[in-house]
């Protein structure tokens, strides 16, 4: 039961983009793991700005 609620919470966070920054950090760590002078990951604020701007270019809402 508890696991189920946890899973639903995970899905809600994922759908709403609440966990977007955490996923970005994971992606960043994996992608740059082998590089010597890997760039610092973006701050939460800077990342969120990019993420939101990207989301709202193009058609993403309908009638």
């Amino acid at each position: 039961m508890f696991n189920k609620i946890k899973h639903i919470w995970h899905v809600i966070r994922r759908l709403s983009g609440d966990d977007a920054y955490e996923r970005y950090l994971t992606h960043h760590a994996q992608f740059h793991a082998t590089m010597v002078d890997a760039p610092e990951p973006l701050s939460r604020k800077a990342f969120f700005k990019l993420w939101q701007d990207k989301k709202w270019t193009g058609i993403n809402r309908c009638c």
Partner: protein, 683 residues
């Protein structure tokens, strides 16, 4: 489950669906329970999804589970990301479901509950869901290319341009009609106006919170926003009861229309994080919550449908909009049955997230089925009302008469009992001054929802439920208005960028202001005309929107049909060819009637000539004579616009037929733009 048991179970579903459907279709005389409509819908969706959609996926599209999708091949962690299918389904559904499926069925209920219900069910199974799924599939095979690009690649540049122009025009008309719906819901309603106005600062608070106070905490911010929205519904009630405050929010239609136009411009120019993005979160949460609540309430309460199966208005004399059952029920209900707009979502954003081709059936076909279910619930909410009440709310004053006594007399003469006292009591219960001639569908849907909610969750709160429903509708209507204006602006900047590079830059402020202004002026014009039109405006704008939306659906199906033929599966071309043919027939017939009909409530030219004659002979009142020239001009404009839509549609259809014929004759045609096969490395 053993195969035999499975077959038995599916047979039972089929039988139950057939039983429920025959129950609602053959029922005459006594009223029918809404639960039968829900049962019929769910069984039909299940059968269609399990058998028809699977068959299309396997035979027509030949979905290949071993083939790498663009999300896998081009994974960049940004737009191309392999994503869990439930997450993609959620995103896709949030994107396709707007206010359309709530409005169309409400208006089409003037024909009775049966025609609209049958069209929603048949239309989605054979048309809308097929269009969404095949478009999603073909775009996935083409690295997520947009409908316009696919039309250019597969049919030719004319098809591509047609899709682009079609999209832009739909946007303009859609926003105008949605604006009109909100204006009609706010007219002389301080409660609704103050609540809807409050959604703007609430969205901004949410935007600031997730941008600056706690960056990226989307759920926290949304929870605060939803709480504030519910509070604003309560606060609206207090304002309505305060003699000094209520006058601030008590307005005629025209000032409210100007306010919406001004708001639309501000929303298009302001940064997205401040208004558009937070409003979208709130409206998505509200929408999912309310639809879910409505579904539960209908199942728990099992309300009786009071509207007859078929009304006398199938002969074209209906008060809400003029025109016969054929073709106008098919034009009025676009979203929920077939919506061309979805092809823009199904090509572009969604395909870039799909992990495996086998998810396409669930996301494309399944997503549209859910949207159709929303339309069914809107139909139920409209038809549980007493027909007399339904027509009193939705009929414009220009048709039934200016005063309550006149309106009631007209509606009674149609055989639908309703009294002035009944309407006054209803308005009082809902916390409104009057519910006569509140056209556009939102107030009647809100009354229907409020009655259902109040019966299921507490009768004393009718007025609160009513204004909650109005707030919920207005919230995502305004989201569509914001997002649509922005998309229109991008498209216009894209076009202008061909002539002047600077104008094409999306961050160049003079260009932003110019193009936003042009888009807002476009829909603002139609909104203005809709407000000054004594017949309510919805009766003109909604069919125009329907024709445009069905035209876009036909273009998407043309692209799909030509791809199916070119891939050597001409024997299956009927899968998209059948809905395409139907759409071409209904849009062409509807357009023909809108242009050439002698009925002044159907034909644009007939209406314009009638009004001109009235103006010349001096029978119009001073007020009506003052706006008549503008209405006449608008009727002409709408007629030419309709001609243009049909012209564009036929060009694309002829192009598609030519390409298919040449291919079948073995002549050279544009090569398929499908990306080559790459084996997937994912599990």
């Amino acid at each position: 489950m053993p195969k035999f048991l499975k077959s038995v179970a599916w047979f039972a579903v089929a039988m139950l669906g057939a039983y429920a459907l025959s129950g609602i279709a053959l029922n005459r005389g006594e009223s029918i329970n809404a639960i039968w409509m829900v049962t019929a819908a769910v069984c039909i969706y299940a059968i269609a999804y399990r058998f028809y959609a699977s068959w299309i996926a396997a035979k027509v599209l030949t979905v290949d589970e071993t083939r790498a999708t663009p999300a896998e091949r081009l994974d960049n962690g940004r737009d191309f990301v392999p994503t869990n299918k439930w997450i993609v389904f959620g995103h896709h559904f949030a994107a396709i479901s707007g206010p359309g499926p709530l409005i169309g069925p409400t208006l089409a209920a003037q024909f009775g509950y049966l025609p609209g219900t049958l069209w929603i069910l048949i239309g989605v199974v054979l048309g809308g869901a097929v269009q969404d799924m095949v478009t999603l599939f073909f775009s996935t095979r083409r690295n997520g290319r947009s409908l316009g690009q696919m039309a250019r690649d597969e049919i030719g540049s004319i098809g591509g341009t047609a899709a682009l122009i079609g999209t832009f025009m739909i946007m303009i008309i859609l926003i105008a009609v949605l604006g009109l719906v909100v204006v009609n819901a706010m007219k002389h309603s301080p409660w609704a106006t103050s609540t809807i106005a409050a959604t703007i600062p609430i969205a901004m608070i949410v935007g600031l919170y997730m941008r600056h106070i706690r960056p990226g905490r989307v759920l926290e911010a949304s929870a605060i926003g939803v709480a504030l929205l519910l509070l604003s519904v309560l606060a609206g009630g207090w304002i309505d009861h305060s003699a000094t405050l209520r006058v601030l929010f008590d307005h005629e239609g025209l000032p409210l229309a100007y306010a919406i136009i001004l708001y639309g411009f501000a929303a298009a120019v302001l940064p997205v994080w401040l208004l558009l993005a937070p409003r979208d979160y709130l409206s998505t949460f509200m929408k999912l919550g309310t639809i879910f609540l409505l579904a539960i309430a209908i199942v728990v309460l099992q309300p009786e449908i009071h509207m007859p199966a078929v009304t006398q208005f199938i002969d074209g004399t209906g008060p809400i909009f003029g025109g016969k059952l054929f073709p106008f029920v098919f034009i009025t209900i676009a979203c929920g049955a077939v919506s061309g707009f979805h092809a823009l979502i199904a090509s572009g954003t969604t395909p870039k997230l799909i992990t495996n081709e086998r998810d396409i059936r669930m996301i494309g076909y399944g997503g549209m089925l859910l949207e159709s279910f929303v339309a069914m619930m809107a139909m139920i909410a409209a038809t549980v009302l007493e027909p007399g009440v339904f027509f009193a709310i939705n009929s414009p004053a220009g048709v039934v008469g200016q005063t309550a006594v006149e309106a009631v007399a007209t509606i009674n003469s149609w055989g639908f009992p309703v009294t002035v006292e009944q309407m006054e009591q209803l308005a009082k219960d809902m916390g409104e001054s009057s519910l006569f001639a509140r056209t556009g569908g939102a107030p009647s849907l809100a009354v229907g929802m409020a009655s259902i909610f109040a019966s299921a969750f507490g009768k004393s709160l009718l007025a609160l439920w009513y204004h909650f429903a109005i707030m919920f509708e207005a919230l995502f209507i305004l989201t569509t208005l914001d997002a649509g204006t922005r998309v229109g602006r991008f498209m216009l900047q894209d076009i202008l960028g061909n002539f002047n590079q600077k104008l094409g830059e999306t961050s160049y402020m003079p260009s932003v202001i110019l193009t936003s202004g042009l888009v807002v002026a476009g829909w603002g014009y139609f909104l203005y005309i809709g407000v000054i039109d004594p017949n309510g405006g919805v009766n003109i704008l909604w069919p125009l929107f329907g024709i445009a939306n069905q035209m876009l659906a036909a273009i998407a199906l043309c692209v799909a049909t030509s791809i199916i033929v070119k891939s050597g599966k001409a024997r299956y071309a009927w899968v998209t060819g059948l809905p395409l043919t139907w759409l071409v027939v209904i849009t062409s017939t509807a357009a023909y009637e809108k242009i050439f009909s002698d009925d002044i409530r159907v034909g644009f030219f007939a209406a314009a000539n009638h009004l001109s004659a009235q103006l010349l002979s001096g029978v119009l009142s001073v007020e009506k004579a003052a706006v008549a020239p503008r209405l006449i001009f608008n009727q002409h404009l709408d007629a030419y616009l309709t001609m243009f839509f049909v012209f564009v549609l036929w060009i694309v259809v002829i192009d598609m037929i030519n390409i298919s014929r040449r291919h079948l004759q073995g002549k050279k045609v544009l090569a398929s733009s499908e990306e080559p096969y790459v084996k997937t490395a994912l599990e």
